[in-house]
Amino acid sequence: MEPTEVALLTYITLFVVALVIAGIVDLIRRVMRWLAG
C-alpha cells in the first residue's frame, strides 16, 4: 500500500471506531437509565 492510502484508511478507521465508541457510550447511558426506571 502507498503511504497516502495507509494514512487515508487509518483516518477512515479512526472515524468509524470513534463513532462506535460514542454509540456505546450513548447505549450504556440509555440502558442504565432504563434499568434505573
Partner: protein
C-alpha cells in the same frame, strides 16, 4: 627522552584521564557545551514555569551533566543507549530504569496509570458523539505527517513514530517510538515533550488564526450537560477496555493502564489513587525526564535527521490543531450555531492544556462562558483516538 618531556606527557595523560572530554575532537566538545547550555536554558525555563517544570528541570540537568561528563572508558557515565547489552546494568546508574522501564514501554504505562486516575470522563460521556468526532478531526496531523515523513526519506516505521507527535500525547509518543523506531526514540520523544511544553504558546495563536473571533464567544450552558453516575462511568470503562483491547491489541497496555486508573478513581479506592497519582506518576515522570535528559547527548542529537524531526513535529501538531478547528467549525454549522468551534482544537489531546486554552479564549470573548466542562470531553477523547492510531501504526509497521 628528557625529563621535562616525560613530565609533560605524564601531565597530559593525567589530564586526559581526569578530564575525559579533553580526549574528544574540538568540534564534539563545542557541540557538548552547546547542548549543556541548552540544558541550562530548559532548566531555567522550567524553573520560571515557561516550560513544564516536572519534565524540563530533570531533563535539563540530565542534559548538562551527560554532555559534560565524559569518561574515556565508558563514555556517558549515566546511561548507555544500547539496552540489549545486560552488562551495562553494572556500569551505568540509570541503566536499570532504561533497560527495564523504557525498552518495554513500562514507563509510558506507569504515566498512563497516573493520567487515568486524574481523569474525569464525565464530560466525555456527557457529549460522546461530539467529543469523539472532534477528537478524530484533531488527529489530522498524526495522519498527514505519515506520508510527508516517508517522502522525506524516513522508513514507514520511523515516519509513523514521528507522525504520532501530532497526537500531542507524550507517553504515547514515547511508547510508539520505542517500538517503531528505537534508534530515533530519544530525539522523537525529546522533540515531542519539548513541543508539548510550549504547545500553549502557539496553540492560542493557531486558534485565533483558524477560528473567526465572532464564533469564539458562543455561549454553551454548562447546566444543560447531562449528569453521569459513577456506575455509568464504571460500565463505560469496562466495556471500552474490552472493546479496544479486542480491536487494538498493540495499544492494549496503554489502554489498560489508562482505564484501570479511571476505574480506580471512580471506585474511590483512596489508597490506590494516592499511590498512582502521588507516587507512581511523580516517580515515573521524574525518571522519564531525567533518563531522557541524560540520553540527549551529542552523538544522539547532533544528527541532520533531528532537524527533520523538529520540522515534522511542528507540522504534525499544527495540522492536528487545524484539523480540530475544521472539526469545530463543521460542528458549529451542523448544530445551527449552538456549538462553540473552540471545542475543536481542545481535542488535541494534550490534557488539559488545549482544553484550558479554548476555555480562556471563550471567556475572553464572552465572560459568561465556562467552556472547560465541554472542552474536557474532546480533550480526553483525544487520548483514546491517539492510542487507536498508535495501535494501527504498530500493527501495520511492526
Amino acid at each position: 627522552m628528557s625529563t621535562e618531556l616525560l613530565i609533560t606527557y605524564s601531565f597530559i595523560d593525567f589530564i586526559h584521564k581526569v578530564l575525559g572530554i579533553t580526549t574528544l575532537p574540538p568540534l564534539n566538545v563545542v557541540a557538548r557545551f552547546i547542548l549543556a547550555v541548552i540544558g541550562a536554558v530548559l532548566t531555567y525555563l522550567g524553573y520560571k514555569r515557561v516550560l513544564e517544570p516536572l519534565i524540563m528541570i530533570p531533563m535539563g540537568i540530565g542534559m548538562i551533566s551527560a554532555n559534560l561528563a565524559y569518561i574515556v572508558t565508558v563514555g556517558n557515565p549515566h546511561v548507555n543507549i544500547n539496552f540489549t547489552n545486560m552488562s551495562n546494568l553494572f556500569v551505568y546508574w540509570l541503566q536499570p530504569f532504561y533497560n527495564f522501564m523504557f525498552s518495554n514501554g513500562l514507563i509510558a504505562c506507569l504515566v498512563f496509570f497516573g493520567i487515568g486516575v486524574m481523569t474525569d470522563i464525565t464530560f466525555l460521556m456527557a457529549r460522546p458523539y461530539l467529543s469523539f468526532i472532534l477528537a478524530a478531526f484533531a488527529e489530522l496531523g498524526t495522519i498527514v505527517t505519515l506520508p510527508i515523513a516517508i517522502n522525506l526519506g524516513f522508513t514507514p516505521r520511523q515516519a509513523a513514530a514521528i507522525a504520532l507527535i501530532g497526537g500531542a500525547d507524550g507517553p504515547i509518543v514515547l511508547y510508539s517510538s520505542l517500538r517503531l523506531a528505537p534508534k530515533l526514540f530519544v530525539p522523537i520523544t525529546v522533540v515531542g515533550y519539548l513541543y508539548l511544553s510550549i504547545l500553549y504558546i502557539f496553540q492560542k495563536g493557531l486558534d485565533e488564526l483558524t477560528i473567526p473571533s465572532r464564533f469564539m464567544g458562543i455561549y454553551m450552558d454548562p447546566t444543560k450537560l447531562p449528569k453521569i453516575s459513577p456506575k455509568e462511568k464504571l460500565v463505560f470503562s469496562i466495556v471500552v477496555t474490552a472493546l479496544l483491547s479486542l480491536l487494538f491489541p498493540q495499544a492494549s497496555p496503554l489502554i489498560v493502564s489508562f482505564f484501570l486508573g479511571v476505574i480506580i478513581k471512580e471506585a474511590g479506592i483512596r489508597r490506590y489513587i494516592r499511590m498512582l497519582d502521588e507516587v507512581i506518576l511523580s516517580l515515573s515522570t521524574f525518571i522519564l525526564a531525567l533518563t531522557l535528559g541524560t540520553l540527549t547527548t551529542v552523538d544522539v542529537i547532533f544528527d541532520p535527521i533531528v532537524l527533520k524531526i523538529l520540522v515534522l513535529g511542528i507540522i504534525a501538531l499544527t495540522l492536528s490543531s487545524i484539523g480540530g478547528s475544521i472539526g469545530g467549525l463543521i460542528m458549529y454549522y451542523l448544530s445551527g450555531g449552538k456549538i462553540n468551534p473552540l471545542l475543536g482544537p481542545a481535542a488535541v489531546s494534550c490534557v488539559p492544556t488545549t482544553a484550558k486554552i479554548s476555555h480562556k479564549l471563550a471567556v475572553k470573548h464572552n465572560p459568561r462562558n465556562y467552556l472547560i466542562v465541554f472542552a474536557m470531553g474532546p480533550n480526553i477523547a483525544g487520548v483514546i483516538t491517539t492510542a487507536i492510531i498508535a495501535s494501527i501504526y504498530l500493527a501495520l509497521f511492526t
